[in-house]
């Protein structure tokens, strides 16, 4: 079969990225212009600043990617783009650029759901096999997805409030360790002990998550200690918090795997880089004979490579958009 080259664009949050991916599995070239340093000054992503940066970066990122791949647009089979969910102003820059390229070069335009991209980041490591359960954990998402077959998605559950990454950021702010909170708390937790008692959130039989109560419990605990003039051990608090997060994630994920009688788990999204969550899930999977995999660290955070991987399967399925494609801040998986 002829090789298929997808040029993919991702701009849903604070990374402007372009990639060229071969057959949904080979990263030919990836370019990411990150804005993390700018947003760190504001303690989180400022949507309007992110949009402004995307506009500045977009054509440069595409050009760098083509140069890196030593390819021209003529060699590209289709253009894939993240159309949602994400920050609307940010998404629009990528969508307009992709639509314009598609029109100029007369290439098919393939719309890709951001979460499907995160899931298909796993295909860049090894070929995904089905059925599987995908756990998507990032700064904006916490979802359990059942995939019966290639590019078929069924959402089993999701967070009812904060995403898991969001709760890390908020807790990091409370303990005063800065932004982004995930990597910092993960590191601190390694040297801490589980000293503080925190409630297991949404401890029920659903596949849904809730992290805002847990975050509030951490804030209350912190205020309580402050009032009593006792210093909290930050490492121990990080460990206590992370343990609860890992426990709730493992419990719900395992339930999905057992209920659906599926022997494969893939982890996706920026928080898949979290070592506590990785190790917790690995252990649970080993106990139950489940094959557990996650993307390379570089494909965990937002990037266009994963959009190119998902875009290939969407392209194969015949999914197309025309020049009326619009960006959507929220869009369901199925």
């Amino acid at each position: 079969m002829k090789d298929v080259y997808i040029l993919a664009i991702e701009s849903s949050c604070d990374e402007t990225s372009c990639a060229i991916v071969k057959n949904g599995s080979v990263d030919i070239a990836t370019v990411i212009a990150t804005q993390i340093d700018i947003h760190t000054n504001f303690g989180g992503v400022v949507p309007e600043i992110a949009s402004r940066q995307h506009l500045k970066n977009i054509t440069m990122v595409i050009e760098d990617c083509l140069n890196k791949a030593h390819m021209t647009m003529d060699e590209i089979d289709a253009i894939a783009v993240t159309y949602g969910p994400g920050l609307i102003g940010s998404l629009l820059v990528g969508v307009e650029a992709a639509k314009t390229l598609s029109l100029i070069y007369n290439k098919p335009l393939v719309p890709v759901h951001h979460i499907k991209g995160h899931i298909y980041a796993n295909n860049l490591n090894k070929t995904m096999e089905y059925p599987l359960i995908a756990l998507v954990v990032s700064g904006g998402h916490t979802e359990l997805v059942y995939m019966k077959d290639e590019y078929e998605f069924e959402k089993l559950g999701e967070t009812l409030d904060d995403a898991v990454g969001e709760s890390y950021d908020k807790v990091a702010r409370v303990i005063g360790v800065g932004y982004p909170g995930g990597p910092v708390i993960d590191k601190m937790a390694k040297t801490g002990t589980h000293e503080y008692n925190l409630p297991i959130p949404l401890n029920d039989d659903s596949y849904n998550f809730s992290f805002s109560g847990l975050k509030s419990a951490v804030i209350n605990l912190s205020h309580n200690y402050e009032q009593r003039g006792i210093e909290l051990n930050k490492e121990n608090l990080a460990k206590s918090f992370q343990d609860v997060v890992v426990e709730t994630i493992c419990k719900k994920t395992l339930k999905a795997l057992l209920d659906k009688d599926v022997k494969r788990l893939i982890i996706a999204g920026g928080v898949a880089a979290n070592s506590g969550i990785r190790e917790g899930l690995k252990k649970v999977c080993e106990e139950h004979g489940i094959d557990c995999s996650y993307p390379d660290l570089k494909y965990c955070t937002d990037n266009a490579t994963m959009i190119g991987a998902a875009g290939y399967f969407a392209y194969k399925k015949g999914l197309r958009a025309d020049s009326t494609l619009n960006a959507k801040s929220s869009v369901s998986l199925t």
Partner: protein, 219 residues
Amino acid sequence: MKTLYLDTSSSFLYTAILEDSKIIKEIKEKLDNNLSVYALPRIEEMLKDANININEIEKIIVVNGPGSFTGIRIGLTIAKTLAWAKEIPIIPISSLEAMSLSAGEDYDYVVPAIDARRGFVYASIYDNQNDKFVMHEKHISLNVLLVALESIQGTTTFITNDNIEVDYNIKPYDPDISKIVENVMNRESVNPHAIDANYLKLTEAEENKLKEEENDNGN
């Protein structure tokens, strides 16, 4: 020279395909929140009606603001992607300048104004007789602008499509695209990678941060 004119900086789409400064086809349409959906398809249709392929465009003139932040980015992304891909010159023009160029000659002074909310406008003051701006474009409180206008001798009209309440004559904005293009087409073009929006205003987060820093310095 086949030139594409594009302005998505307001709730309207203003676009035209021109041969030099002669309009071949133009579209003026209120699209509001559908700008992101229809801006590009309308350009596509316009080119089709004019029997011109997008690859035949030799120059782009694009309005880069001020106005709707999102709107500006839609037009600029289309324009800079096209200019980069086809390696053709791209020339930015301010929305306020495009408005003053379209105002006609029947008033001594023209005040193009765009609502910037919270009592503010993006505006400039153009002297029609001497063909120059007497107040360059600014993000300015409407009250301050009105005080500035009191010192001006001569007939004055606002030009705006927004709901701005003033005691001056108000002309609705209907772009004279031929005249705008004629005026700017020989200006120096900008590298497509470097072309950027002319927001005239920092983001709120940046403004608040500046205020904090000023307060810190004051203490």
